[in-house]
Amino acid sequence: MTDPITPVLTRRWAEPRSWSIDTYERTGGYQAFRDALRADPDELIQLVKDSGLRGRGGAGFPTGMKWGFIPQGPTGAGAKPKYLVINADEGEPGTCKDIPTMMADPHSLIEGCIITCYAIRAHFCAIYVRGEALHPIRRLANAVREAYAKGYLGRDILGTGYDIDIVVHAGAGAYICGEETALLDSLEGRRGQPRLKPPFPATAGLYASPTVVNNVETIASVPFIVTGGSDWFRSMGTEKSPGPKIYSVSGHVERPGQIEAPLGTTLRQLLELCGGMKDGIPLKFWTPGGSSTPLFTAEHLDVPLDFEGAAAAGSMLGTTAVQVFNETVSVPWAVMKWTEFYKHESCGKCTPCREGTYWLLQILERMLHHEGTEEDIETMLDICDNILGRSFCALGDGATSPITSGIQYFRQEFLDLCAEQPAAKMSDRDTAPAGAMA
C-alpha cells in the first residue's frame, strides 16, 4: 500500500532554487540520461512501454506505444529527420500542473527530452509553451542554457556522438494549440488549426516528418522511470493506469493546491488532504480533469480517479484538474461561462464547433437572462449531439461536456431558470458582459 501522497515529479519543488542545475544535480538529476545514452534506443522504448506510462495531457495514450510508432530505418519515412515536440500549451480550464512543474523543476523536463530524443532518434526538440506562461519560459530557457553549458545538449553529448538541440518556443494565446496537430501548425508559423488525421504526427508531424508530441508531465516522468525501472513505477497507481499523478485541486476547498498522488486516488481522499470544503459549504459539482471532462457531483466522491475509473463513471480523467464548486454556484451560469470559453477558443475551421458553440452561448445567455424556454434545453442537447463526434478535433467534443452533463445532473436548475423563478445566486451578478465575447 503506497502513501496517500507520493512526490516524484514534485519531490524537488520545495528545495531552495529548485529550478537551478546545481539543485537538480545535487538531488540526483542528470544521472538517468547517462545510462540512457549508453543503451539501445529500442530498449528505452520497451522500458517506457513496460512502465505503462500513459500521456498526462488528457487522452492517456500509452507513451511507449506512441514512441514505437515512429518509423525507423534507412529508407522511406524512417530516413526523414525525427522531431520531439513538447506540448506545454497548458490552458484547459482548471489545469495548472505543467506551469508549476516547469517553474519549479525545468531540468526534469529537459532531461526527459534528452532521453526521449535519443529513444526516438530525434536531434531537434521544441518545447511549445503557452505565451502567457512567461516565468516558466524563463526557467526553461535558463535550464536549456545551463544544460548546453554542461555539454548535456548540443553536439556530441557526453562524447556519445549524439546531437540534440532544444528550442523553447512561446505561443501567443490560443487554447486550440494544445491540440497536437494545431500545435504543429502553430509551430510551423501558421494559424493554429487542427489537421485532419490520418496521417498522424508519428508519420507526418512537424515539417511532415515523424514527430512525437508529448505533454510536459509525461516527459518529465521519463528520467524517473529510467532510474527506478518499470516495476518501481508500477508500484504506484493501478494496473492500467500506473504511476503518480499531479492532481490540481482548485475552487471551494479549504486548502487548494497541487497534490501528487497515485493514480486512482478519489475526490474524497483529495478533499481530506485539502482540509475539506471551504467553510463547510457542501459540494455541488466538480470536474475530474478540466472543463472538457463531464461534470461529476457528490455522488462521485469515491470514483477512482484513473483513466478507467473516470470513464466508467461517465467522465474522463483528462488532466486531473479537479475544480470543486459548492452549493452557491449556479450550474447554468457555470456552463454558460465555460461555453463562452469554448466559443472564444473555437478555431473556426469546422462548422459544427464554430457555429455550435456560438449558438449554444446565445441560448445559455438568454436563459441566464430569464428569457429561455424549456424547448431551449432540448435544442442545446440537439446542438451538442451535432457537435460531439462531428467536429474536426476534441475542442468541439469538450465544449459539449459541461452542457450535457450539467443538464443530466441539474436539469431542474435549467427548468427553474426557464420558469422565471428567482435566479440562482450567482446568475444575476454574472450575466453582465464581464466575460462576454472579445
Binding site: P7, G94, I137, E260, V329, F341
Partner: protein
C-alpha cells in the same frame, strides 16, 4: 450581375494588389520604419534557431511587439520581409492569436481571468471594478482598451492555468495570485503611480514591451529575470504535507534496473 470570371460587373477590372509577392533580397539587413539594426540582428538570431524559417514567425511577432507595443502594418511587413512571406500570410497569423494586439498597448497589460472558476471566486467582480476604475467620464474601459493616462491596457483572459491560486491577475504575464477587488485596486493604483509591485510569482515587474522581448526568446538579463518567487504554498501543498507526515513515493532500487530487451 457577376461575370463568368467572378468579377462584379460594376467594379471593372481590379488593379493588381500590392505587396503580394516578397521581393526583397534575403541577404540584406531587414531594417525599416521603427525597426533598427538591433532588431534586425535579433530577428536573424531567432530564425537561425529553427530547422525551417517560418517557425520563427510567432517569436518574430513577439519581437515586433517589443518594439512597437503592438503589431502594426509595418510590423507585419517586417516579419514578411524577414521570412519571405506575403503580408497576407503574416496578417492571417497575427489575427488568429489573442496575444498579438492590433492597437497600441499601454505601459502595462493587465489580464484578469474571468473563466468559470476564477469568476466564481471573484474574477468577474474584479474585472468589472477595474473597468469602472480605469474608464473615463463614467464610461467603463472595454476589453483591450487603454486607460487615458496610457498606463494600463485592460483585458479579460481565459484560464491562466493558476486555478489553485484563484482568482488570478497577470500584469505583463507575471502572476498576481489570490486576488480580490480591493487588492486589484491597490495594484492598479500603484501601477498608475509608476510603481512596480512585485508579482506573487515571477520576476520583478518591467513593462509590456520588455516581456514581449523575452517571449521572442531574447533575454537581455536572464540571470536576473530567472530568479524571483515561484512556489506558492498552494504549489507546495502536497509535497509539504508529505514531508510533515513522513509520506513518500516507494523507494527506488539502489541501482537502476537493467533495461528490458526489445520485444
Amino acid at each position: 450581375m457577376t461575370l463568368p470570371e467572378g468579377m462584379p460587373e460594376a467594379l471593372g477590372p481590379l488593379d493588381k494588389p500590392e505587396e503580394v509577392v516578397w521581393a526583397g533580397p534575403a541577404d540584406q539587413p531587414i531594417v525599416g520604419g521603427v525597426f533598427d539594426e538591433v532588431t534586425s540582428t535579433r530577428a536573424k538570431e531567432i530564425i537561425a534557431r529553427y530547422p525551417q524559417s517560418r517557425s520563427a514567425l510567432l517569436p518574430l511577432l513577439h519581437l515586433v511587439q517589443s518594439v512597437e507595443g503592438h503589431v502594426s502594418q509595418d510590423g507585419i511587413r517586417f516579419c514578411a520581409d524577414a521570412l519571405e512571406l506575403t503580408t497576407a500570410e503574416v496578417s492571417a497569423v497575427v489575427t488568429f492569436y489573442t496575444m498579438y494586439k492590433r492597437t497600441p498597448c499601454g505601459e502595462h497589460l493587465v489580464s484578469v481571468c474571468t473563466n468559470t472558476l476564477c469568476a466564481a471566486l471573484g474574477g468577474d467582480a474584479i474585472y468589472r471594478r477595474l473597468q469602472e476604475k480605469l474608464g473615463t467620464d463614467g464610461e467603463p474601459l472595454g476589453h483591450e482598451e487603454t486607460s487615458a493616462d496610457g498606463a494600463i491596457t485592460l483585458e479579460h483572459a481565459e484560464c491562466l492555468a493558476a486555478c489553485d491560486l484563484a482568482p488570478v491577475i497577470q500584469v505583463n504575464y507575471e502572476f498576481y495570485d489570490n486576488q480580490d477587488v480591493d487588492k486589484a485596486e491597490v495594484l492598479v493604483d500603484a501601477l498608475r503611480r509608476g510603481e512596480k509591485p512585485h508579482p506573487t510569482r515571477g520576476a520583478a515587474l518591467t513593462d509590456f514591451r520588455t516581456v514581449e522581448l523575452e517571449l521572442a526568446g531574447i533575454f537581455p538579463d536572464l540571470a536576473a529575470s530567472v530568479e524571483g518567487p515561484s512556489e506558492a504554498p498552494e504549489t507546495l501543498l502536497g509535497v509539504t504535507m508529505a514531508g510533515d507526515r513522513g509520506w513518500a513515493a516507494p523507494a527506488m532500487p539502489d541501482t537502476p534496473p537493467a533495461l528490458p530487451e526489445k520485444k
